[in-house]
């Protein structure tokens, strides 16, 4: 196998080593925060796949995150399915959702695309509220104690232990990072970027751009849903708030801040934003204003994000 972009591969490896080492240094509160950051970073990385690399700005990724949350959470809650299997079902649910929605929304472009993804996500959100008898609606469902641990290869893994959760989140993050590295730095990734830069030209060169976009959309939705399934199962909670508009906006913001179209941007953006929001959450809902201000500031002066700016100025391989 050929490794494209070796510098980036080395950087990713260094980041993974650093993340693994963190568990020996951080306090248990920080471990919890880091676990959330890793899962949300997977979500943002999935989002970035579509928004950053392929140039399709979706306002509805909460729908795929929630597809993962609900598919995995509900089979556990109602049928007592074991956690690893539920996780796979969550991924499968998100895959199906993103494939079907993708087939429809990719007929539209730019502004229409944004509105259509937003509308489908709103319909999905309202559906979770409408069927609150089964989904628990706003109150949500708390997974029973039996679903808070599982056996894997004879080991019992406890979902209430901070370290276990961190290591599982780390493992999923690592697999996602490596997977997305292979996709984005290889030939498929080039096609994604080609669609972003000039779709007509890519089509003229003989590529089926609808199919390229559909692949990007499905990968993006599935990865987002995987993050959702992990989040729901790990913290034992399934609720409508995961499907709300704000969840889509958070993925967008993490990606914008970190740098759209950079592999590590979403991780950086999620870290910065989660830390910031944690600090500000003392001021009740102040963080929504911060989100609002940042969305404007980033669009006005900082469209490339942190890593994007570094890439444009100094390190062209950082993509």
């Amino acid at each position: 196998m050929v490794l494209h972009n070796k510098k980036l591969a080395a950087l990713c490896l260094a980041v993974l080593v650093l993340l693994f080492a963190l568990q020996f240094v951080l306090s248990s509160y920080m471990i919890l925060a880091a676990t959330r950051i890793l899962i949300l970073a997977v979500f943002a990385m999935g989002y970035n796949m579509l928004m950053g690399y392929t140039g399709l700005l979706s306002l509805g990724h909460a729908m795929f995150f929630a597809a993962g949350v609900y598919a995995s959470g509900m089979v556990t809650y109602y049928f007592g399915v074991s956690l690893p299997l539920a996780f796979l079902i969550g991924i499968l649910g998100a895959f199906a959702a993103s494939l079907i929605i993708g087939l429809l929304v990719l007929r539209t472009q730019t502004v229409s695309f944004m509105i259509v993804t937003l509308m489908f996500a709103q319909a999905a959100y309202l559906t979770t509220l409408y069927f609150s008898r089964y989904t628990g609606g706003d109150q949500g469902l708390t997974l029973p104690t039996s679903a808070r641990s599982f056996r894997l290869f004879g080991q019992v893994l406890d979902m209430t232990s901070d370290l276990t959760r961190y290591n599982i989140a780390f493992a999923v993050f690592a697999v996602t990072l490596i997977g997305l590295y292979l996709i984005t730095q290889g030939p498929i990734g080039r096609l994604f970027v080609a669609v972003r830069e000039n779709e007509d030209r890519t089509r003229m060169l003989g590529f089926d751009t609808y199919r390229i976009k559909l692949v990007a959309f499905t990968v993006s939705g599935t990865v987002s849903g995987m993050a959702g399934a992990l989040y729901g199962l790990m913290f034992g909670f399934v609720g409508s708030s995961f499907a709300a508009f704000q969840t889509s906006i958070e993925a967008l913001l993490y990606t914008l801040i970190g740098g759209p179209g950079t592999l590590l941007g979403p991780l950086l953006g999620t870290t910065v934003m989660t830390m910031l929001i944690d600090r500000l959450s003392g001021l009740t809902t102040a963080y929504l204003v911060v989100i609002g201000v940042l969305l404007i500031v980033v669009t006005l002066w900082f469209p490339a994000g942190i890593l994007g700016t570094i890439r444009n100025r100094w390190l062209p391989w950082l993509k």
Partner: protein, 293 residues
């Protein structure tokens, strides 16, 4: 069960909703038609209009009618000023890039919402109607103020159409909408037209908010539904088409009213969001619109 009274009530409620929706959606449609941008903060301008009406009602002494008339003038002016400032500070600087505008106006939406929460508080506030007179039907009484809403909306929309067709500013707006570059070549200051259109669009939403508040209540999150329904109306009616927007407002307002009375408001919203999505996917020119140029 006799269904007639329910049907009458649903029709009346639907008509009231359709008239407010017509005003709000026309604001969004005007902005989209002329400037080719989608303003996600449009619902917040509606909410600010309603909150403005409440502020007028609390600060201005005397009969509620005086405060109401004052609100009908002051609230839209205030909201128009905010929109003007937002256009100057944000939209002009990103050169009305369609995608960036959506992201920036989402930011604006959060800022307006939270600022209102801090200053106005989390509680819904009622405002007295400018007059009380209940029209008695055999089955239920119905506030005449709601008929006033319908009348006011029809007059305002008629006025707007007349203004667009027969005034110089209206002509300039239509010229800009038709062909931005040529308009500029003929000495029309496109930047100025954009500022005016953005402010007027916001003011229409604010008027909708002022009109609705005696029948509903002012709340800092109340902009959400009007935004959603305005989207539905503007898209179903054909992006930027004013007659299409009016027709769609009546259709959507009425059907939303009927669905809400007979089924549930949530189901009505699921239905309309899916309708928008499917119209955009399969018939992007809208149900009433002609194919785009």
């Amino acid at each position: 069960m006799n269904i007639a009274p329910y049907l009458l009530l649903a029709t009346l409620e639907g008509l009231v909703q359709a008239s407010v929706l017509m005003l709000t959606a026309l604001g969004l449609s005007l902005v989209f038609g002329v400037m080719r941008v989608v303003n996600v903060a449009h619902g917040e301008f509606f909410m600010l209009g309603a909150v403005g009406a409440w502020i007028c009602a609390t600060l201005i002494p005397g009969p509620p009618a005086v405060a109401f008339v004052a609100a009908l003038v002051l609230a839209p002016l205030f909201v128009g000023a905010i929109a003007w400032a937002a256009d100057w500070a944000i939209l002009k600087r990103i050169d009305y890039n369609p995608e960036a505008t959506i992201v920036a106006t989402i930011g604006l939406m959060y800022i307006i919402q939270q600022t209102t929460l801090w200053s106005f508080g989390p509680n819904a506030q009622a405002v007295d109607a400018p007059f009380y007179y209940t029209l008695r039907f055999p089955w239920f009484g119905y506030s005449t103020y709601k008929f006033f809403i319908i009348g006011a909306a029809v007059v305002l929309v008629g006025g707007l159409l007349y203004f667009l067709r027969h005034s110089k500013v209206g002509l300039v707006m239509r010229a800009t909408q038709f062909d931005r570059e040529t308009a500029q070549n003929f000495g029309i200051s496109v930047g100025r037209v954009y500022s005016i259109v953005f402010a007027v669009g916001a003011m229409l939403a604010a008027i909708g908010g002022v009109l609705v508040v005696p029948a509903q209540q002012a709340h800092y999150l109340m902009g959400h539904d009007p935004l959603l329904l305005s989207f539905v109306v503007v898209i179903v009616g054909g992006l930027g088409s004013i007659p299409g927007t009016i027709a769609a407002a009546i259709l959507i307002g009425m059907s939303d009213g009927l669905l809400s009375v007979f089924f549930s408001p949530t189901l009505a919203k699921i239905f309309s969001t899916l309708l928008v999505a499917l119209v955009l996917v399969f018939k992007p020119e809208g149900l009433f619109g002609k194919a785009g140029r």
